[in-house]
Symmetry: C2
Subunit: 247 residues, 2 copies
DNA sequence: CGTCCCCTTGAATGAAGTCAATACGCGTGG
DNA sequence: CCACGCGTATTGACTTCATTCAAGGGGACG
């Protein structure tokens, strides 16, 4: 349950003891806590840090002039906001806490230090950011091509598998703090239709969702109706040829 | 019209003569041509190069098992496919030519060399890739929140402004090679509805689209109905404080 | 001259949104 | 302890936007 970032990065490569200590140290440098619904950084601000979510769920979102809101991404424990953001003059979107969250702020200096002294971490972080981009692309496919039922099923599959990689699941269950309104803002559908879609998944015994806990009795079955192909998450230790000898 | 990449990067930072020569040299190393509709790289392959589109339009796309296709991104002249892709074991999507295209393949070695000797270019390329990510996010918003008319208008605004940055527009017009089927695969709507939506934009005098040429007589008006905010393209010379003294 | 691809149009159908009412759990304060 | 308010979930009836089906038109090319 601890150190979800390390756990996740090790899906890609093996990290040395020194690498891990570095990551722990960096994550401890500057810690901030946010209440649910609070903004971590708001559109228009100048980004000064890379944010690492170590506990809780956060999300990226954008609001249109007329108030419509789209959730663009979820940050689960161990997830990083964009590397290199400090290159941009201002945020073009906001990042908000979904649940109460604990965030580590990584300064540009700390990041550069890590890039220089720890090539294995550097590699793993680029992998992380390529996966994040792949997830964003898959969301485009999801919104563009899948109908409501498939879309919902796909999101649930993705979140569950990502939580698993971060060590945040037990058996077939995980905490699931999203409200139906938030699901709607994520999947581009009305709350009413979110509700009906969830009912349909429940009726088919594909999910149990109750008291902020999600259970997926048969992940394969849910994947099938979602046309879910996990390849875009690149969770198959592709960097294993880089394994460190030390440990 | 030449060297759209350089032209685009200079929207972000000023490049020295040596930087530009480097870019020209890199782009000339390994050139490939593709016919319209041909695949540049296909899902499942191992990416070995960073592709730079120097002429023509290409697209990223994904196909679901049942044949539905979603276009995930367009590559216009001067656009690069993901930096660092070689970290991944295999492509989770395909890249195809929309029109006949000319592509420069950039090897890992050439890329690393550039990263070391040309910090200004490095910075500019990270900017490029952050902008590409921002575009992908905006597409998520587009598909999730906007209705057909807004969605179409938004895409047209984005493409026009990006073409402008690459030096591929003249006055209020640009070449526009996409078929209505491709627009549908991009915007997640049926061809029939694409057709009707275009008609509606034409009837409001917001666009002229004929013979593969798009004219936007009043970009501001089109932006308004699209709820288009160009901030996500980060085209405002944010790196100008980094301007080189040399030229 | 026929074929193929792309664009266009009409009519019928369907998926998802809107509106509105109700229910439920939970915390607060009387 | 109970009443109240608030946010969230649920349900039904109706509407609207978009898809599907089907047919026809036009241009490029062999």
């Amino acid at each position: 349950m601890k150190r979800p970032l390390i756990r996740k990065l090790e899906k890609f490569t093996r990290l040395s003891r020194a690498d891990k200590e570095m990551l722990v140290r960096i994550a401890a440098q500057r810690i901030r806590r946010f209440a649910a619904r609070e903004d971590i950084i708001h559109e228009g601000e100048k980004p000064e840090f890379i944010n690492l979510v170590s506990e809780g769920w956060a999300c990226r979102y954008k609001t249109l002039e007329d108030g419509r809101r789209q959730i663009i991404a979820f940050f689960l424990p161990g997830d990083l906001c964009d590397l290199n953001v400090f290159i941009l003059k201002e945020m073009d979107h906001s990042i908000g806490a979904v649940t109460p969250v604990v965030v580590s702020e990584i300064s540009r200096a700390a990041f550069d230090e890590m890039m220089i002294g720890h090539p294995r971490i550097t590699q793993a972080l680029w992998w992380e950011s390529l996966v994040a981009a792949a997830i964003q692309r898959e969301w485009t496919v999801n919104l563009g091509q899948r109908d409501a039922l498939e879309r919902m099923a796909h999101l649930l599959c993705e979140l569950f598998i990502r939580l698993e990689a971060a060590g945040c699941t037990s058996d077939h269950s995980c905490e699931f703090p999203l409200t139906q309104t938030e699901l709607g803002e994520t999947l581009g559908m009305s709350t009413v239709h979110v509700n009906r879609t969830l009912q349909e998944l429940r009726a088919s015994n594909l999910i149990v969702l109750k008291d902020r806990t999600l259970t997926i009795p048969n992940l394969k079955a849910l994947q099938d109706i979602a046309l879910f192909n996990p390849n875009y998450l690149h969770l198959d230790r592709e960097g294993s040829h880089l394994d460190a000898n030390e440990e």
